[in-house]
Amino acid sequence: MRVGVFVCQCGTNIAATVDTEKVVSAALAMRDVQHAETIQYTCSDPGQRAIVDAVQKKGLTRVVIAACSPRMHETTFRRTVTRAGMNPYMMEMVNIREHCSWIHSDIDTATDKAIDLMRMGVARVRGQAPLNSTTVPVTRRVLVIGGGVAGIQAALDIADAGLPVTLVERGPSIGGNMARLDKTFPTLDCSSCILTPRMVEANQHEDIDLMVNSEVDSVRGYIGNFEVDIRRKATCVDEDKCTGCMICQEKCPGKAPDEFNAGVGESKAISIPFPQAVPMVAAIRKEHCRQFIKGKCGVCEKVCPADAIDYEQEDTIVTEKFGAIVVATGYQTYDWREAYPDYGGGQYPDVITSLQYERMLSASGPTGGHVKRPSDGEEPKQVVFISCVGSRDESVSRPLCCSVGCMYTAKQAILTKEHIPDSQSYVFYIDIRAGGKGYEEFTRRAQREFGAIYLRGRVGKIYPSGGKLIVMGTDTLSGGPVEVEADLVVLATGFDSAPGAAKLAQKLNVSYDQYGFFSESHPKLRPVETTTGGIYLAGACQGPKDIPDSVAQASAAAAKVIGLVSRGELETSPMVAEVNQARCTGCFKCRDVCPYSAIEAVALRDGREVAGVIDSLCQGCGVCNVACPPAVISLKGYTDNQLIAETLELLR
């Protein structure tokens, strides 16, 4: 057995705290180690060549590379040794950067640790056997979850590449939060003017199957071959029959809250959320419908000219196979009321959120584009905007920056002046975050051309006084407290993950952070991949984002999906379970515990029934390996012997 050890210095990233030469000499002192050297940048071209040369010149049969995290470069170096003519799985990576040099400052500590880890790697690779991966076909259909601008963009890009897409939207219409915006920064484009055509396109695209009022129930399978149950929620309206004439909505006697308008104004129990909705189909919200609460009404059924109403309708489950999944579930605005009693905690009607204000500004909104104080319908002259409500505030466990508040607040200050020329806006901010193209200029315009007064400070308290609101704030630039008498206060609320985001993440087995935003596989280099193969991220479900970023990320995800699915077939990891059938007792404990039902009973020639692994299904978790009483089923690449050898090497 001829082992080669390569110790990466990663410039000074490793070499600064780990004495790599010491590691090399320690390696050379080990049994079977025929070659060891340090390399300045192992992942670099010369670095990889050095490995290939050493393997070929010294006829190495196993390689240990002590460098960064295998999660970073394992695939890179597997290719490297393959080029050298070795089996890719005879290479073992040891993490002496993230797990060593970067977390220790003392050279001896770091070096000792690096040596241990290297030795453990060698011990482990000794027990490694060559593995060969097989291929499985990839299903030519893609699931996009979420019909906001990101989901729409991803769906269109993928469908335009000729791949069939199922676009699942929880609500009654696609369009997401963007459809609720009046204008967009920094160009002041009309939001719905640019979004609506895309919504229609998505609906009409022959390769896009649009499912509104639908949610993902459960997900099985793995990259290339997912099987998903989609719940189509009963709306009591036949989608195919409904013409969107809205007579039902007119006549419906049942009042209902207006989610689309963020609670500004009221809606009906049967409704189409907004005039540009896609699809243009009504839906009944049972919890508000008299037919279901009181058991009698039936108005909509009577008035519907297309007789599309069907109170008997029930949820249905559609099961489909997909090769890849794009998650684009977006965000919801932070619910500030509990956390900010000092701002009235929802007690003052004239303290509203930026989204509610957005609906007021929108010509298609409940006030027809007229800005009115909720309390008395008067036109406000003094409007105060408060940034960072539910952002940059550790005391309400929202330390993150919402990344768009500064911009949409500037936008709303500008629009306020346009709607009410004799109005004065005040913006309380902490820092102006205007990183995007044309953003900084935009916030300047708000102040220079539209006369918004920017005050640098966080507001402490709002209280009512003589029909107005007194806003107690600070201007840290002039050094002291300031007060503004306001007719209307608009809170720039931050971003929270969409309701149920964490639940969905668990169904998909993708990781997510403490706010429920889905985690990308690598912050720099794999920004749209998740930790689970075949599942990609687009838009604000990954973290607060503005529209251009969401759209760009959606297209990036689409590109990844197209790349994956168009290949047609997929290499599976050979690190799967393997049964020593000669010694298997056929107790099938393994079958009971396998999460992927990848174990089947196989009849041997002598008639005994023993366990057999279905490679294409096995995902290599190793649960069976532990469950097996006689220890005859083992996970390739993680065999008992390898793990024990690794452990013993450390404890020797």
């Binding site: 000092d342 003094q382 960072c388 940059r392 505030d393 550790e394 005391s395 309400v396 004065q424 005040y426 902490i430 007064i453 640098r456 400070g457 966080r458 507001v459 402490g460 308290k461 107690m472 704030g473 600070t474 201007d475 840290t476 002039s478 050094g479 002291g480 407290p481 300031v482 007060e483 503004v484 008498e485």
Partner: protein, 241 residues
């Protein structure tokens, strides 16, 4: 309309930046307010200041560096209008190691620890606690920060407690007022108070006053209330502003 309640001249403007007051020193002057120059000097004193700041952080257990100057503390600070430095600026000065400004500030004397700032700080810093410890250090150094009254009041109060074991409000009032030559402060209240039976004329005394004296001795090593230590014993007619 937009009105300054803070009592600060509005708007304050950065008048000038002097450079080269000394090696690596420069100072920003923000003009002045009621005779208090609103200016900071970023300088060598940062070095010396750093230790005191570290001391304040250690004693108070608060992280001064965590402050990102959002100013929420100042927004609803009860006394800000009377302070020379509102709370967020105290935090800033400490971040810059400007300890002298802080210890000599009126704020360090006037802040009466209502902790409104602390409850609202988005970073969870107990701002009042920080100022509190600055105040103690100032006291240890006998600094009155141009606010003799406050320290006098506290000492008069304790003096009173030391003597009787309990507070004799009427006596505190008179004594304190005499001590700063304002004998008739709140005088108008007196007849009312009397009529409303709101005071004892005779001071309340506790039995075991010895124990109280032990306590005072314990904290400052002598039988007196420890004013000598700061060389300004309370006596009626002590110089007022």
């Amino acid at each position: 309309m937009f009105h300054k309640l803070a009592g600060l001249p509005w708007p304050l403007s950065v008048n000038q930046i002097h450079k080269g007051i000394g090696d690596g020193e420069f100072s920003v002057s923000l003009g002045d307010w009621e005779g208090v120059p609103l200016s900071i000097r970023v300088s060598a004193s940062v070095a010396g200041g750093a230790e005191v700041v570290a001391d304040i952080e250690r004693r108070s257990g608060e992280r001064v560096s965590a402050c990102y100057q959002c100013g929420r503390c100042t927004s609803t600070c009860t006394g800000a209008f009377a302070f020379d430095y509102p709370p967020h600026r105290i935090m800033r000065l400490l971040q810059l190691g400007q300890v002298d400004e802080v210890l000599n500030s009126r704020t360090a004397q006037l802040c009466f620890d209502c902790m409104t700032c602390s409850t609202r700080c988005p970073m969870g810093i107990d701002v009042a606690n920080v100022i509190e410890h600055a105040k103690m250090i100032a006291d240890e150094r006998g600094i009155e920060g141009g606010e003799k009254d406050i320290r006098r009041f506290r000492l008069a109060f304790l003096q009173n407690v030391r003597r009787h074991g309990r507070l004799h409000e009427a006596r505190l009032l008179t004594w304190f007022n005499l001590s700063r030559l304002k004998p008739f402060n709140d005088f108008a209240l007196v007849p009312v108070i009397l009529r409303r039976k709101k005071v004892h004329i005779v001071p309340p005394k506790i039995k075991n006053r010895e124990e109280i004296h032990r306590i005072f001795r314990e904290v400052n090593g002598n039988g007196k209330s420890g004013d000598e230590r700061h060389g300004n014993e309370i006596k009626a007619g002590g110089g007022a502003e």
